[in-house]
Each structure stands twice: as C-alpha cells, then as structure tokens.
Assembly symmetry: C3
Homo-oligomer: 264 residues x 3
C-alpha cells in the first residue's frame, strides 16, 4: 500500500488539535485523499473532544491557497468524473457535519486564496481568522456548477439574498476586508501579525472553561432554528446548570475574590 | 376598448426580458394598471424562462422615482378605496411570488425615489443595483398603514430587528450607500455609470451557464428555511447532476484546457 | 415589610411609560428585586398598552452602567446560588417575553456599560439607542457561564455565527459604533445629544398612528419564522384593514389634502 499523498498534516499540542492543509503544489485542491483526510481528522477530533483531551480545533493552510476548492483535474483523471465529485463532496459534507456538532470551537485560519468549497469550509468555522491578503471567490459558475460545502446556505443567511446572489452570480473576487464586513469571517489580521494572532486566539480558547464554551456554541448554533421564547428557556436551564459545575463555582469565587479563575 | 395607460414598457432582447416602469408623471405610483402590467410581465417572463428563451429579467425605471409605492389618489378615485388597495396589493404580491420562483435572475435597477411597496419590490430582486442618488423610505406610517410588498419580511431578515424597526418606525429617508451597507441592495453605482453597469451586469448574467444559475438561485432561496445538514445533501446532489450536463462538461473541459468556456 | 430596594423608577407621561434602572451603586446589577421590578413593569405596560393609555415604552439607566448583568454577589449571599440565579433568569426571561409581545415599541436607551444579561435586554428592544461611550461585553465566559437574556439568540441571528461566536468566546469589549454596524443597536448618538435624541425619538413614536405601529411591529417580529409567501398574504390583509381605520382614513385624507395628519 503506497503512502497517502500529503494533504493534511495533523498534530495535537497543549489541548489543541491542529490540521494544516499542506498539498505540495500549494493549491490545497480537494481530491479524494484530501476529503478522506479531513473526514478522518473530524472524526478523531470529535472523539477526542468527547473524551476531554482536546479543547480547540484549528484548520489552517500552507501554500498560496487555503483551498482552491474541488480538484477538477483529479476528478477528470478518475474513472468517472461525476462519481469522483460525488465521493469528494459527500465526504467533505460529512466532515463538516461532524465538525459543526463538536462541543468545542473550530478555528479556521485562512491565509491566501479561498475558492469553491473552500468558501464553505471557512464559513463552517466558529471563529474564522483571515490574513489581510486573503481573497474569496465562489468560482462554481465559471465551470457550470452550483455551490457545495454549505457555501450557498451560509452566504444566504449571513449576507442576505441580494448580496449573496451578487457574489455568487458575478463570480467576482472578494477581499478579506469585505468578507469581514459581511460576516463571512470573524477577524482580519495583517499578514505579519497573522501567526501570532492565531496562536493567541487558540491559547485563549484552550484556556476558557470547557463546558461553558460548549454550551455557548450549542446555544449560538441552535438560535437560527427555533423561537426566542424556546431559546430563553434553554438559556436559563443552561446557565443554572453551569453555575453548579466546578468551573462555574470557581469562576464565581474568583470574581468575588477579585482574582483570576483557575478553570479545570 | 381604450388603450391601457402607460405603466410598464416591456421588450425581450438577446435573451433578456426588460421591463421599464414608465408612468408619464415619473412617479411610477402603483395603481390597478401598473399592478396588472407587472403581473402579466411576471407570467410572461416565467413562461419564457421555462421555455428557455429568456435568461435574465430586468426591472427598471424612467422618471424621478423607481416607484413611490401605492397610488393613493387612484385608490381614492375608485369606487372603494380599500377594495382597490386590496386588488393592487394582492396582484403585486402574486407577481412577486412568480418572480421569486423563476429559474433565472431578476435584476432590479433603481434610479431615484423608492418608497412604500417600491422598497419591497427592490428587495425581491436577486441582484439589485441602485444609482448613488437613489433614496429609500417606507412611508407607510405617514398615512397610518403597515408595510406590503414583502418589505417587512425582507427588512427584518436582512437588517435585524433593531435596524428594521428603526427604519420603518422613524419613517426616515435612507440613502443608497446605507441601503448597500445593510444589504437592501447588491451594488451602488455612480449616476453617470449606472446605465453601463446595468448593461454589463445583464450581459454577464445572460452569458452565464443557465442551469447552474438556476440551481445557485434555488439553493440561495431555500437556505433560510432548512437546516445546514439538509442543505448540504441538496448541494451535493445538485453539483453532481450539473457536472453531467453539457454546460458542466464544457466548463470543466475549458478549465482543464485553459480556454474560455462556450456555454449553451 | 421593608421598602423594596431602589432598582427601577417608573413613570407614565404623555402616553409614554418610562422605566429607569436606578440602583444606587450605578451598576444596575440584576438581583431578585431588579428582576421582579422589570417583570412588574412589563406586566403593567402590557396591560396599559392593551388599554390604550400607553403608546411607547422606554427602558433607560442612571449610573455608570445600563446593566452589568446578573448580581453574582447577591446570588452568593442567598441561601442557594443556583436557585437564586434560576429565579432571576427566569423572571427576567418572562419579562422579556411580555415586552416582546406588546403592541407598541420598546425603546431601550443605553448609556454606559452593558454586560451579561444587559446585552440581551438591549437586543430585546424594538429601537435601541446607545450613547457613543457605551460598551458591550458578554462576560459569561469569565465566570464559566453561558449566555442568558436571549443574548445568544439575538447575536447568532444578527451577526451571523462567525462574528457572534468571536464576540462571545473572546469575551472582548465592543464599542458602540461596532455594535451599530453589527445591528445590535439601532442608533448611536453623541453623549451630549443623547437625552435630546431619546426624547425626540419617544415623542415621534408616541405621535405615530397606534394600530399601524402595532401592525408594523407584529409583521417585523413574525418575519423570521415563516415563508415570504405566507408573509405577503398577511401584509395584504393588514394594510387593507388599516386603510379602513380612522387613522388610515385620516392619513390618506391628509396626504391627498397636502396637510399634516391628525392621528387619534
């Protein structure tokens, strides 16, 4: 069995799971190997999150692109273009479903070109940080395709229909600052400060109280699909429950004692 | 039978259906004749879209206003104000439902005053382009009415409740640049460049691959009413299906051959 | 029975119900007395709104903070921290449900620090006006808690997930101008102009046609939970009905007669 081609380099360090898109050509085009690697990472991180050994997950890139999207050349070289595309899209979508249900924050750190499914992956993040030189493009229409990776869902909900349709149908390039103003990413950082900013963010999140982070994410993720009244009841149950956990007790004691909390 | 009063001038050219609001007084106030004309145009364009002869629809205006909204003077001159208003609002809403379900982009090109139902019509667009001198106002509260034309639905979803309620309840005028920043329109263009920008946009959209455009719009339009997981499954089915269409095959071949695609 | 500690000073004046958070230490921390006072005010205003004696409700603050959120010291001094928190959160949430269903505008006027549940209360407003020096912070994560007061629901829907999660998980301070750009508040006003701006807004809203205001709010509030097609039908019924009310008849007559309307 040959070695898997390099697509995703993963490591766990200080409670943080880091996956780096590392395709040698720098494109991070998504082929079968890349989709499988992302799916495996999602399953591993999800299991580690449940087991309590991981507190933050970070997906980042080497090369000129975070990802140019689906690797059309690889699909074309396969036995059946459409079947290969189906495999990669489905595998990627399964990975995104797993990542979106994890009880910990997914940070996506983007430095470079983001196109096609890459745009959807960025918006699957809980916190997305982009370097100021990053650029976004849907690209699908250029080859007669429609969006995948959740891109059309995220764009419509965040930008509103008029801006989402303009971006997707014009197939234009969007700069990082516009992506920030439209809520596609959480923060934009100057290129020189990018590594430091991602490290600081990751460290801060890894040190935050674990159950409170998980509950905050759960509440934010469910807000779009239920009424405010239902949500208020859930919020009340959640904050009361957390106040009885060791981290909640420590947080309050530290606040009242005017000292820094030491969360578990 | 007398001629219908001039309200909407329509033409089909190069695969584009163009309707120009052209009421002689320049107000483009919406009376029975205008609502009927918009409804007929919506039905005609929808049929032509299904038949494949039209690829883009454009709604634009002559005169000082895109539309000042309902023509209160006409309603007052009718046998029954409320019944006339009911007819016009219902007819307009039927037209908007038809336009919003078409498998092609509706471009709304706004140059001037937009008030009342005009605001809702602009936000019914897939891509809305406004000249920089355009101005928006809800206006309903000034006469003791509530919004129609879908305006309250669009505002609440795009601006969030705090900004939507402020705009509607203050009854203030909003300039084009603010409307852009709030996602009410897709683009704002300097007055001198407006005609050219609308023409270029229309030409670009008319040349885009038809089924991919239709699928992109369908996905964007359904995003607000279902979960991300459901949407991901639909996206995967759609992109795989499109990859087998003539435009998808041509798009990929052109990409791999580093040439411009020739879509059908 | 001792006097209730000062938490909320209420008065009705010129059809406006005004409640001023007035805890002597200026923090407007939310304890049992504050939650009870807000709940009582919500019930009183709601009853007065139905009775027609009140047309606008205003919630504002004295002191350095609009509200720092839950009063952890008070919870800690109670017999059971979690039970006291449960009482206060539940009581506050009941108040927010009542306020959010009133047929009149709730104006929240914020001058100072807004933290924890205070953030949710601000976003429960129909129109939220903030002084330029106001500052917002979620704060929950600092003590190991998750959001309440509807904050997580409002943030997710208005900011989109990437910006909402960044704000909540970073636990950072947000200035008023950013809160405006993200739709958390409706307007930001210079500190020196704040009182005047709130008074003018309140006067304008109190003079607006009552049923039209109520219907506009009802339509804006329901937009997020139903389809555009359903909403269009409701809008048409509403505008036709209002055109037959005394305010609708007067509004049209004034418009046609080119005079100011005299609403009831």
């Amino acid at each position: 069995m040959p070695d898997a081609p390099p697509r995703l380099r993963t490591e766990n360090r200080d409670g943080t799971a880091i996956a780096t898109l590392c395709r040698p050509d720098g494109s991070n085009g998504l082929d079968r190997a890349a989709a499988d690697a992302l799916h495996t990472w999602a399953e591993d991180v999800s299991a580690a999150a449940e087991g309590g050994t991981i507190r933050v997950a970070v997906l980042r890139n080497e090369g000129f692109a975070f990802s140019v999207g689906g690797d059309l050349r690889a699909f074309d070289a396969s036995a059946d273009f459409a079947e290969e595309l189906r495999y990669v899209a489905t595998r990627l979508h399964e990975a995104l479903k797993i990542l979106g249900a994890m009880p910990l924050p997914l940070v996506v750190a983007v430095d470079g070109v983001v196109a096609g499914a890459g745009v959807g992956i960025v918006m699957a993040a809980d916190v997305a940080v982009a370097s100021a030189s990053s650029k976004f493009r849907m690209a699908y229409l250029g080859v007669g395709f429609s969006p995948d990776g959740g891109g059309s869902w995220q764009l419509a909900r965040r930008l509103g229909h008029a801006r989402a349709a303009e971006f997707a149908l014009s197939n234009r390039v969007m700069r990082a600052d516009e992506a920030l103003s439209l809520g596609m990413v959480s923060r934009v950082v100057a290129v020189d400060d990018f590594e430091t900013a991602v490290d600081e963010l990751t460290t801060q999140l890894a040190g935050a109280p674990k159950e409170a982070v998980a509950e905050t994410l759960r509440l934010l993720r469910t807000a779009g699909s239920r009424s405010l009244d239902e949500h208020l009841d859930d919020e009340a149950r959640s904050i009361v429950r957390l106040s009885r956990t060791p981290d909640g007790v420590e947080g309050v004691a530290a606040f009242l004692g005017k000292r820094q909390p030491a969360f578990s």
